[in-house]
Symmetry: C2
Subunit: 278 residues, 2 copies
Amino acid sequence: MKIIDGKKISEEIKAELKAEVKNCFIKPGLSVIQIGNREDSNKYVSAKQKAALEVGINFNLYHYDETADEREIVNKIKELNNDEYVDGIMIQLPLPDKFNEKKLINLILPSKDVDGLTDRNIGRLVTNKDPLTSCTPLGIIELLKRSEVKIEGKNVVIVGRSNLVGKPLMHLFLNENATVTVCHTKTSDLKKMTLQADILVAAMGNPKFITKDYVKEGAVVIDVGINTINSGLCGDVDFDNVSKKASLITPVPGGVGPMTVTMLLKNTLKSYNLKNSK
Amino acid sequence: MKIIDGKKISEEIKAELKAEVKNCFIKPGLSVIQIGNREDSNKYVSAKQKAALEVGINFNLYHYDETADEREIVNKIKELNNDEYVDGIMIQLPLPDKFNEKKLINLILPSKDVDGLTDRNIGRLVTNKDPLTSCTPLGIIELLKRSEVKIEGKNVVIVGRSNLVGKPLMHLFLNENATVTVCHTKTSDLKKMTLQADILVAAMGNPKFITKDYVKEGAVVIDVGINTINSGLCGDVDFDNVSKKASLITPVPGGVGPMTVTMLLKNTLKSYNLKNSK
C-alpha cells in the first residue's frame, strides 16, 4: 500500500503555478465573496488567501454581514464581472439561508466562475468542452494522474451524488474513458458495487463508513470525506483497516483537501490565460 | 416477456396533450429550423409537424438551403426568441458541416429550448432543477413509468455515452434514485457490467450488438438504436433472442422512437405553461 500525499502533490503544483504567474505581465486576480461568519468558512477563506498570495495571485475578499441585502451582493458580482483585473470570482458556500445561492452563483460570468458551479459550466462539462470545473473533482483527477494511476477502461465507483463532488466527478471520469457507476443512499447492494471498483471514491459524508469489506484487494481508494469526530478529523474511509487492502489510498487530512484550494488557483490562472489568448 | 408498446403509449400521451391544448387560450407554438436536405431529417421534421398538428400545436418550419449564411440563422433564432407566440424552438440535427451546431443551439433561449440541448439546460439537469430536457431520454423514463417499472434502487446500465442520449439519461435515472453505470467502447468487460442490469439501455448505435449473453434473466431492456440493415430497420438489441430472457423490452421500430416526437410536444406545452404561470 502506498499513500497518495495530497499535500506534497499540491505543493508541486503550486510551485508550477508560481513559476507561471511570475511570467504574467499583469498579476491574475481572485475575488472571494463571503457572507456571514461561519467558523469553517473563515478557515477555508484564509487557506485560499494564503495559497493565492503564496503563488503570487492577487486576492480580494468581500466579506458581508449576514444582514446584508441580496441586491448589494448582486451589484458586487456585476462589478467584479466587469473588472478586467479580476480573473476568478467565487462565493464561499454555504450562504445563510435567506440568500438564493443558485441565483447568485449563476450571475457570475462563466469565464470567471473558478468554482465551476454555474449551470453553463456544468453543462459544458457534460458535453466535454473543458470548461472551468469544480475544484474538488478536478483535484481528484489530478491526484490520480500525478500518481500514475491509469484511468481509461477502469471501473470507477463513486459513492455520493452531490452537485459539488459526485456528479461533476462522474463526468471527468467519463471524459477520461473510465466506466463509471454512481451509488448513493438508495443503492440496494452497495457492497456488491464497491467491491468491483478499480478506483473507489468515497464522497458521502459518513465517518469511516467504507471499511475493508467494501474494498477490492489492490483498489485505489480516494477519500473525499471531511468529518469531525471526537478524536479529530476523519474521512468516509476507515483508513487503518482499508489501507491494508488498497494499493493506493488518500489520507484525511492531507489527501484530497489540499488539492481543492490548489485547483482554485489553477482555475484562476486558466481563466487568466484564456482571456489573454483571445 | 412483455413488449413495451411505444406507439400505443405515445398515442395515449398525445391524447392527453390534445385535451390540454384544447384549454389553452392561445395555441402553443413550435418552430423548427432545418438546414439542408438530408432525407432522414426531412422524414423526422415531417413526423414532428404531423404530430404537432395532431395535438393542436402551431407548427412553423424554417427551411434553409445548405448555402445559407450562418448570420441568417442567427437572426432567425433571435427573432423566434423574441416572438411571444413561439414556445418551443429546435434545430434539426445534424447540420451541414460549415455551421457551428453548438453555437447556434446555445443562442436559443433556455426557456424555449424544447430539445434540452443548451449548456444551461444540461447544467440544470445535472443539479436536478427539472429544466426542459432532451426528448429521447425523457421518453425512456416516461415509457418505464407508464409500464409501471420501479426505478428507485435498481441497477441501471447504459451502454453509450452520447450527449443526446446516454449522458442526459444518466442524470434522469440518478434523479429517480437508480444506481447508474455508464459503459462505452473503452469499457473493459462490458458483459460483466450489463449482466448486472435490472434495467439495460442500449444506445451505442451498433446493430443487434446486445445478444442474450449480455442480458440478465428478467431484465427490462430499452433499445435506443435505429440502424438500417439489409432487411430493414433494427435496434442495438438482438430482439428475437433477447426477448426470450427480458421481462419487458422495447421493439425497434415502435419502442423509443415514437416517444421522442411526443416528448417534443410535451416540452413545448411545458414551456407554454411555464410562461403563462409567471
